[in-house]
């Protein structure tokens, strides 16, 4: 056996220890499962073996199923209907092995010494008993839902039978992991013991237990699943509400979440062996569905890659920013300083006067009242650039004006010539700003998103002359902040702002066409976008959009307003004085008490047309325009790879997670169908939907952005 060791102790108890060679964590894959199955059968067959303890030699227990292996199953070279059956049969073999530990006639105790997720926890759930070490950092959970899958190793059925269906559902759907203490409360584990005693206590229990103790409740006669029963009046209301809330939150965009709900509902009505088959069938269907593959690829595989940051120049040694400078204590500057302080990086914040500099303290106190005091010693507000001396990295976050920024850059260079200088600009090309630097190779863009405290993505922009040292430090810095960076090349608005602006712009264009605002907003959410387009405009602030539009026109020397969308924004801001959420009124009204409501006056500015489009068309317009722009960015070399485009979209503005990202979306629709749709939309709605030459080429050849499932490194 290569992946685990099997020893029988003096008392006749087998100790099965997972320890896969060449890996930092144990995973379940074809080999380790087969060996576990052998080990289980040996325990059950050999007369002198009384039972088994299952544990791990690594710091963690088992991290889950090897996604590499699972994805390969899903893409196996078989006719489509057979692929799903192949997955079904493979997973059923695992289910059967687990079931043997549950009802094979001898006790199996999972001695959980560390993290157990997904299939790793499911292995434990099937064991006779689960004891866990008393380390509060241990994570126990079934996170499959987070990557477009469902727990296919008995997790949905055993959670349901342990805690009741409506208690199990939130854990399954959120994919949330819990600590040992919470796991004990939920009865996911039976006991918490000091980690040194884990195996000995497991052995002891086996030796002292009797066959009565080994039978799970659901293997006893007359067993009833605890909690709500949908066949009763009260239970039916509770289940109906759970269904409605699921629909409310996910709009039917996540087949895996619907499948989890169905697995719990169908499974609870039947004996467990039947239930496990139902669960496995649903898992197999998902594995061969586009949504699951898209989500696994973007939210797991490519996100991990992005976090490993393969774009970092290999020859530059890793560095940590020991002192950060931030110029500007506005909304962005203050928030950047805040997250740096949270990462224990000392920050100097420079502003034109003391009061402005003090805004950073105010900001931190406002958004982080509990943690502020601990952070403030790391923050030094200043009015003199000299305070920056010794900084490794200085980020300017001043007003979006090239001249002002150029001035700042020169001052920073003078104060700390050794520092890497970065700009948080969202629109001005880095190469342009770099002209103010005497050493442009030390100048780079580091673009944060608002609210900085919550947004995971940071866009790093290479100017034409940005050097490797600057790039490496920027990447290292973002990693210090525990955020994820994508590296993009220079261009107006770079990648993220450029693409998601098409979403808000399309919303405005549709208003001007006379499409009902309620329809536009609902379509945005139903398409899977986290915020509806007009609501998003209000969040960003209509006057900011207005300024950006005007600046853009000025920079490019074009007419303003240049489109009905720009006309609408100008009308809202300049004529109606509606600036967005911050002023209590934008496309929505924001009453002090109560929910926001679409502004009734919008119909006077943009009269509704008599015939309204169907919601599917509106959804498609909103997603298609973004996907097109992302494709353009790839073709122009703004983003280097489809993975960057998709991860950036997912993290940067929450682009419909169920699609896996804008380019995954095009793959899902199919290049040919997508191009046909673009041509149809061009004719009906405008030139902006014109497909790119590359896309037209892909439509002809049947090309894809992702030719086959990517090879992931880690487990689910």
């Amino acid at each position: 056996m290569q992946n685990l060791t099997f020893e029988v102790n003096a008392d006749g108890v087998a100790i099965i220890t997972f320890d896969m060679p060449g890996r930092s964590m144990n995973v379940l894959n074809e080999a380790s499962i087969a060996e576990y199955g052998e080990a289980v059968e040996r325990v059950l067959a050999e007369v002198n073996i009384k039972g088994a303890v299952v544990t791990s030699a690594k710091p963690t227990f088992i991290a889950g199923a090897d996604l590499d292996w699972v994805l390969a199953l899903a893409d196996a070279d078989l006719p489509p209907n057979q692929r799903a059956i192949n997955v079904y049969e493979t997973v059923m073999r695992l289910q059967k092995i687990f079931r043997r530990t549950e009802n094979g006639g001898k006790p199996f105790v999972a001695a959980i010494n560390g993290l157990a997720l997904g299939g790793g926890l499911e292995l434990c759930l099937a064991c006779t008993r689960r004891i866990v070490a008393d380390d509060p950092r241990i994570q126990l959970g079934l996170p499959e839902a987070k990557v477009g899958l469902l727990p296919g190793g008995g997790g949905t059925q055993r959670f349901t039978r342990i805690m009741g269906p409506l208690q199990a559902l939130p854990l399954l759907i959120e994919g949330r992991a819990v600590s040992p203490e919470e796991a004990l409360k939920l009865k996911i584990v039976d006991e918490i013991v000091p980690s040194g005693e884990l195996v000995s206590r497991a052995v002891h229990w086996i030796l002292c237990s009797s066959p009565e103790d080994w039978i799970k409740p659901w293997d006893r006669k007359g067993y009833k699943v605890p909690g709500d029963d949908p066949r009763t009046l009260e239970g039916s209301f509770a289940f109906a509400a759970a269904n409605a809330l699921q629909r409310k939150k996910t709009y039917g965009n996540f087949p895996n979440l619907d499948a989890i709900q169905k697995a719990v509902y169908d499974g609870m009505m039947v004996p467990i062996d039947t239930a496990l088959r139902i669960e496995t069938r649903l898992f197999a269907s998902l594995m061969t569905s586009d949504v699951a593959k898209n989500m696994v690829r973007t939210q797991f595989v490519n996100l991990q890659k992005a976090n490993k940051q393969e774009r970092r120049p290999a020859d530059i040694p890793a560095r940590k920013v020991a002192k950060l400078g931030v110029i500007g204590a506005g909304m962005m500057g203050a928030a950047i300083a805040h997250v740096a302080a949270k990462a224990r990086i000392p920050v100097v914040v420079v502003e034109k006067d003391a009061e402005s500099a003090g805004k950073v303290i105010q900001h931190i106190r406002t958004v982080n009242p509990k943690g502020a005091e601990a952070l403030l010693p790391l923050i030094k507000p200043a009015t003199d650039y000299a305070a920056l001396a010794g900084a490794d990295l200085v980020i300017e976050a001043v007003f979006e004006d090239s001249a002002i920024k150029a001035d700042v850059i020169r001052n920073v260079e003078a104060a700390c010539p050794a520092a890497i200088i970065a700009s948080n600009t969202s629109s001005i090309p880095i190469s342009n700003l770099a002209r103010a630097a005497s050493r442009p190779e030390r100048f780079i863009g580091i673009h944060f998103f608002s609210p900085v405290e919550r947004m995971q993505l940071v866009e790093i922009i290479k100017g034409k002359e940005t050097g490797n040292e600057a790039l490496a430090l920027a990447i290292d810095f973002v990693r210090q902040l525990r955020k994820t960076s994508i590296v993009v090349n220079d261009g107006r608005f770079f990648y993220t702002s450029r693409v998601f602006a098409t979403y808000t712009t399309e919303g405005c264009l549709m208003v001007q066409e006379g499409i009902a605002p309620a329809l536009i907003e609902n379509a945005g959410r139903m398409a899977g976008m986290p915020v509806a387009p007009l609501a998003l405009c209000d969040e960003i602030s209509l006057d900011l959009i207005y300024r950006i539009n005007q600046q853009d026109a000025k920079d490019l020397g074009r007419a303003f307003p240049g489109s009905p969308a720009e006309t609408l924004i100008e009308r809202m801001v300049a004529n109606e004085g509606r600036l967005g959420r911050k002023s209590g009124k934008g496309f929505y009204e924001y009453p002090v008490d109560g929910r926001k409501r679409l502004w009734r006056g919008l119909a006077a500015i943009a009269p509704l047309k008599a015939e309204q489009p169907d919601v599917e068309t509106v959804k498609q317009r909103l997603l298609t325009i973004q996907a097109l722009e992302a494709a353009r960015c790839l073709e122009e070399g703004i983003v280097a790879t489809p993975a960057d485009a998709d991860v950036g979209a997912y993290l940067g503005w929450g682009f419909a997670p169920w699609t896996g990202g804008p380019l995954s979306y095009i793959d899902m629709v199919g290049a040919k169908a997508f191009v046909e749709r673009c041509q149809d939309f061009t004719a009906r709605f405008g030139e902006r939907f014109h497909p790119t030459p590359k896309l037209v080429e892909m439509a002809g050849t049947g090309g894809r952005f992702y030719p086959s499932a990517a090879k992931p490194q880690k487990a689910a």
Binding site: P230, R231, T232, L233, G235, S236, F237, F239, A240, A241, A242, N243, A244, L245, Q246, R247, K248, K249, Y251, G252, D258, Q261, K262, Y265, D266, A516, P517, A518, L519, E521, N522, A523, M526, R595, R597, L598, Q612, V615
Partner: protein, 402 residues
Amino acid sequence: MQDCYIYDAVRTPRGRGRPDGALHEVPPLDLAAHVLRALRDRNNLDTSLVDDVVMGCVMPVGEQGSNVGRIAALNADYAETAAGVQINRYCASGLEAVNMAAAQIMARQSEVAIGGGVESMSRVPMGADAGGWFTDPEVAFKTYYTPQGIGADLIATKWGFSRTDVDAYAVQSQQRAARAWEEGRFARSIVPVLDELGQVLLDQDEHMRPQTTMQDLAALKPAFAAMGDAMGYDAVAIQRYPEVETINHVHHGGNSSGIVDGSAAVLLGSKEAGIRMGLKPRARIRAFTSIGSEPSIMLTGPEKVTRKVLARAGMTTADIDLFELNEAFASVVLLFQQLLDIDPEILNVNGGAIAMGHPLGATGAMILGTALDELERADLNTALVTLCVGAGMGTATIIERV
């Protein structure tokens, strides 16, 4: 084919659908038997002539399980040769039962049949039968299931019926019902429920509040707002109707049908059967049908089924003297009125379920009797009876006096 005639129609008064309701102590099988006995006794009916007893019951579980149609007939001491069946087309069951009985007669499968219904909502509450429609996630998602109250509020939102509009309709229902009782307009159909000692348990619809004013109703909180929000149903409805920004919740207990106990039965037969029974026919069944429509908004069926049944009868709304549409929720009636341009003076002239209550499986047969009584009282000819129905259905029947 032969014509089907209505020979008699009876109903119990409606008791409050709560433990303190006057009919709460009457087991459902007794309640159902009560109207069957009344039909027999009032008409000197030889029950061995009855081919089938079709009874609507929407919660056919517990005490209302086991086919109340057949068992109530036995319980009423009908001849054992009278078959019986329980049917469920939700709120229209009582009318559907009449329609099915009529179809049997017209097709010459039966000569005499009874269509009616029973519902003891105080003993077997709404929802008692559970059901996979809303509990099975796959089905709930597919059908965009939302409870009927949300549908009613969605109708009010989409067609612009304000809180004032629906409350005004409710006040009218109360006033018309009160007037009808005062004037004895229901006297021919009502069979008071007595205990075994002959004492009156109930002889009048006890849900009514004749003194209801707009002010009284204005004080009531919308009944479905919390459910719509906290349980997610508003969001589901809006996903089905994405042109709606937010649902305006206007319905409450005072402008929705009352929860009550009651039963009803209608005696139907062919011409020859009438002669054999020694009874004069009161009306002829002219046409009947059911339809399906969008199940999520659920309650828009009446206009569509009315158009269909009129077309089948070769008639238009102008040919109908009286309309009877079950007042499940005020907005349902207001919508029907608007879409078909119906004169409110000939619609629900004696009030409806908002004032008197809606015993689910029985109502359809009750309002048929109400329409028949009113045709006779006012010396009019044709009436159209219809109800909105769960899961988007609608049922309608046209009768004409003979």
